[in-house]
Amino acid sequence: MSVKALPKSQVVPKRIRVAGMKLALTGLALAVLFLFLIPMAYGIVTALKTDNQFSEVGAPWWPASERKFVYEGEEYGIYLVPINGEIRELALYKKGRKSSFFVDPQNPEAGPFEWEGQWRQLERAWEPDPQWENFVEAWNTIDFLVLLRNTFFYAAITTFGAVMSSALVAYGFARFRIPGKGVLFMLMLSTVILPGAVTLIPTYFVFLKLGWVGTWLPLIVPTFFSWGTNVFLMRQFFLGIPRDLDEAAMIDGASPFRIFTSVILPMSGPALTAVALFHFFYAWNDFFGPLIYLAGHPEKFPITVGLTAFNNLYSQSTNLIQAASLISAVIPIIVFFLAQKQFMQGVVITGVEK
């Protein structure tokens, strides 16, 4: 009897325990997420703030402007004035050293009255006033259209180059028996972890001699010669395509190049998309290359370098800097939300199988 009763008495506590775990772990995830996204919330709120909020002591954390009251055709700031133990919102009519004159916005007919005390000690009254124009101002000041056009141009053309060249090379690695293929493959993968600095100076010098420094060419041309991670990802995908299809096409007399374009590529949508996304985000984020090769040519800057220059010039305009940062993040985030599945799959293939 008691043996039979035991599992029954455990069933209920277990269900409660699982519910408790669910609550605790979901709560933990939420709490971590909250802390994790604070800078983003800060960025949005700060971008909407008025300029005065950064200099005024006691300004609220949310976007606001000082409240004002119009009295006899003139604007007067509203202050929080302690009178008889209660705090009243009054408009400062006439400033004085020891005492000042105030108007009660609730009852302006009563006229100004005197208040004993230093008005400088008083705090201002604030009202919510999000400055959506900050985004427009940031957009115009930083000349975002030019930066955006540059970045788009750079991202689009190099993404095309990266995808096509990686697909070609990956096909070579996936389908052909080549003497020394193992060595070549290892060599290609080892370039992924090679610190870029070690090749930078001679490359820079050659591009300088070619007259390419100050143009986009040093950033575009190398992407047409494939990149290790992308080749690896595509090769893994191509290996999964049944060889029967190639062989059927081969019997029909198709050349390897024809097989590549009409059999392999049409079946490789997910891999091509993943590589395109990788490269798109890479190009959008690229900083060091443009910094070096486009130095002194602000009209050619991509967003990253333009944003840095903006930050150096307008370091006091905290709200505009945050607005500009957010604008630069909008397009990658939209692309990510649209294509996150393919993108994450690609990351997993290159990250786990290596």
Binding site: F36, L37, G172, G182, V183, F205, Q322, I333
Partner: protein, 327 residues
Amino acid sequence: MTVFEGISLLRQGRAKARRKLSKSEKREAGWGLVFLSPWMIGFLLFYFFPMIASFVFSLYDFNPAVPDQATFVGFENWRRALFVDEEVRLSFIRTIHFAAISLPIGLGFALFLAVLMNSQHVIGKNLYRTLFYMPTMIPLVATVLMWNGVLNEQTGWINILIEKLTGIEATGTNGIRWLADPRLVYYAYTMFGLWGVGNAMIIFLAGLQSVPTEIYEAAQIDGASWWQRFIRITIPLITPVIFYQLVLGVIGSLQYFLAPFVLNGGTGFPEGKTRFYMVYFYKQSFTFFNMGYGATLAWLMFIVALVITIILFGTARYWVYYAAEEQ
């Protein structure tokens, strides 16, 4: 692990190499080389020759503005970098110091999130995964500028929150100066890094999901607690993933550049603490245009990266578990 895959390909290749190729095999190899040619040309043009040239540059005193005045100085640049120029040693130590803080925290946080996302008890996992991933997509410059604002000692929300929650005076003149206090600045930079946790997180997550559930069930029947299962089963089985992230992380840390450059233009504020090796390399090469010396610094970095990678691969067989190798 492709590196191991590559080694096995290497062995196969060696076994076959002695045999003469038939006509059709030659044709196949020829086509293969045609497809590999973009990479092979790119490798020669952008990796092989530049690396050699970089070494040759390191033997010269060279400024690209006046290339005619380049003078051969032998190993003088190397002597200067290794024995005379204190900043080389100091910036390298700073880089390692920062990596020793940021890498364990970054990888630990990624693993923590992956475990959380992998738990059957968390409701709405996909949403969390997307939201934790999202900041990885924000351009790094924008990330740095947002964190720079939120860590501001007076107006940043982090200090305001700390003050509100704990009562510690975080904002005033004696407040927490995240980016100006030499003792704190590496932790502040580590925090920016956490916003790039996405890739490591989903790679760990895929690693966790590939652990066969039968092993857990068996361990559970034997009475193993959650923590024991995590330490004894999960961690050993995902060591290949940890290893890969560690190698990439170390190499990436050696080249850490963007955040200090955006925040202080490479001045090393505060007290030179953020003048990392790559920042110093940039200054020498592209501010002073001492390209001979810059090439020396770059080669030194390459040697250090190579040595660290070899050491990591050497230790791998003691702690990294490969299912395929256990036969």
